[in-house]
Amino acid sequence: MSTNDAHSAGKTPASAVPGDTAREAKATAAKTGPKPRPEKARQPTSIVPSSTIAGRALVAVVAIMTFLAAITIGSAVAVRGTASQWRSDVTREVTIQVRAGDKATTDAQVQAAADIARKTPGIADAHILTGEETARLLEPWLGSGLDLNDLPVPRVVVLRLDGAGTADLARLKRTLTDKIPTASLDDHRGWSRRLVAVTDAVMLIGVVMLVLVGLATVLSVVFATRAAVATNRAVVEVLHFVGARDGFIAAQFQRHFLKIGTQGGLIGGLAATALFGAIAALPQLGLGGDPELPTVVSWLNPGPWGFLGIAVAVAVVALATALTSRVTVYRTLRTIQ
């Protein structure tokens, strides 16, 4: 054995071989190449390097997607709440007005109108507004403290529909004008129906967006997983060569993707929660204190169900990410084998 041999075999520790000790080697590498591992690392280096997974970009995608999904769910739940409120308002919107004349006659006419209404199928109830109630309605216009008995203020009968939508209001209108010339039917239903249609449209858009967001998330994860397997093709090959089963290899990848999904989902979900939380907190901050204020703000308060929906979205996103990547890895491994 020549001296050269001893040299290259590193059998003479005192020789001038560079990087003689692991300590030196580490210091060496720190300056010139990739990071070395500590000599007795408790945690072995992960076999699939996380730097190859475009992880941060994917976390960003997943976070944005979750944010979008959460915003959509929250808004949809909130708008649904508003819509159902509107729907119940509809029942209050149908009224009969009876022009005032001689008090006794008017009273009789009002009673007759209410009776006609009650007998109409689809109308659950007819309520004759008392003087007080009418005064409250007129307050914005006539000021408070008026004695309505002095005034020829029309009398109002409020109808409550049974909600089945079977009431034939057009016929009722005709009957009323036939029998009681001073009565007129104020039917706001066209108006309300349009409102409901709009909220239905909003809900539809929400569902469509949710589907789109879900699709985009799954696609991004599929692409990212494929890219990860492709850039780690050499790693996969070596793992196959040293006798690793597909399950072992897939687990190496899935580990990263579950983490990415959870991180992204949490970031997006928390951001959305914070946004809705801020919106819900606005009225308390004195910006929308009036509870009757029909502003975007009060419409957009998703309530507990909305927040629950967001939490579910986060969980679904994390699981979907992990699952999608597992399926994709298995598929891609088949093409490498």
Binding site: M1, G10, V17, A25, H240, F241, G243, D246
Partner: protein, 219 residues
């Protein structure tokens, strides 16, 4: 242990790289594989290592017909074979130590159970002081020795080495050859592909020569 019967291989629609190759490898035997560049040595190694399926003919490995294996069976068979690739195939993000211990890690073994063994082997191939360094900063010869150590760590029954001395000086090549001979004496079959005539002259063993797609055996 290995039987090739009229094996032919073509890549895609090209001409056959290997034609009608028939030979056997006995347990506990030692043989060189040689032939000009591009003759098909690496291809033959890949057939033996199940990373390529023959286009025709029959290959039996450890008594099993390789055409009937599913992926998990392939993985299990491969654990009985060690391979040194011509281009090393070390993982650049794992240290020399981690690269060499990869076959054991894949088996699910605890790090503590193999640390001493890996360290000893690395010392043997002269990488004791390069243990915790990443492959990109190793010299050509150092990488080659790391690849050899990885092939040996699992105590394979069959060792395939593709040009394992192409990047080391003659003295070190002799030393590595002795390592392979030692291994063979302790019961492993060895197939060593090389261009190095001087190396083959140092040990009297069976020679398999590929030329023009045919395999000639010189006992």
């Amino acid at each position: 242990m290995v039987r090739f019967e009229n094996v032919g291989l073509r890549y895609g629609m090209g001409q056959e790289v290997l034609k009608d190759v028939s030979f056997g490898i006995q347990p506990n035997s030692f043989q060189f594989l040689t032939g000009p560049s591009g003759a098909g040595k690496t291809t033959l190694m890949r057939l033996l290592f199940l990373s390529l399926k023959p286009t025709r003919g029959l290959i039996t490995l450890f008594g099993r017909d390789v055409s009937s294996l599913d992926p998990d069976e392939v993985a299990v068979l491969r654990r009985r074979i060690g391979i040194v690739f011509q281009d090393f195939r070390l993982l650049d993000h794992l240290t020399t130590y981690e690269n060499v211990s990869l076959p054991l890690r894949v088996l699910g073994k605890e790090e503590a159970s193999y640390r001493a063994e890996v360290t000893e082997l690395l010392g043997w191939v002269g990488l004791g002081d390069r243990m915790h360094v990443l492959p990109p900063i190793l010299s050509g010869g150092e990488k080659q020795r790391a690849a050899i150590a990885r092939a040996l760590i699992g105590r394979p029954e069959f060792l395939l080495a593709d040009e394992p001395t192409g990047n080391v000086d003659p003295t070190l090549a002799r030393r590595l050859l002795r390592l392979f001979i030692e291994l063979n004496k302790s019961g492993t079959s060895v197939l060593l592909a090389t261009h190095d005539i001087a190396l083959m002259d140092q040990y009297d063993a069976r020679r398999l020569v590929i030329a023009d797609g045919r395999l000639y055996v010189y006992e």
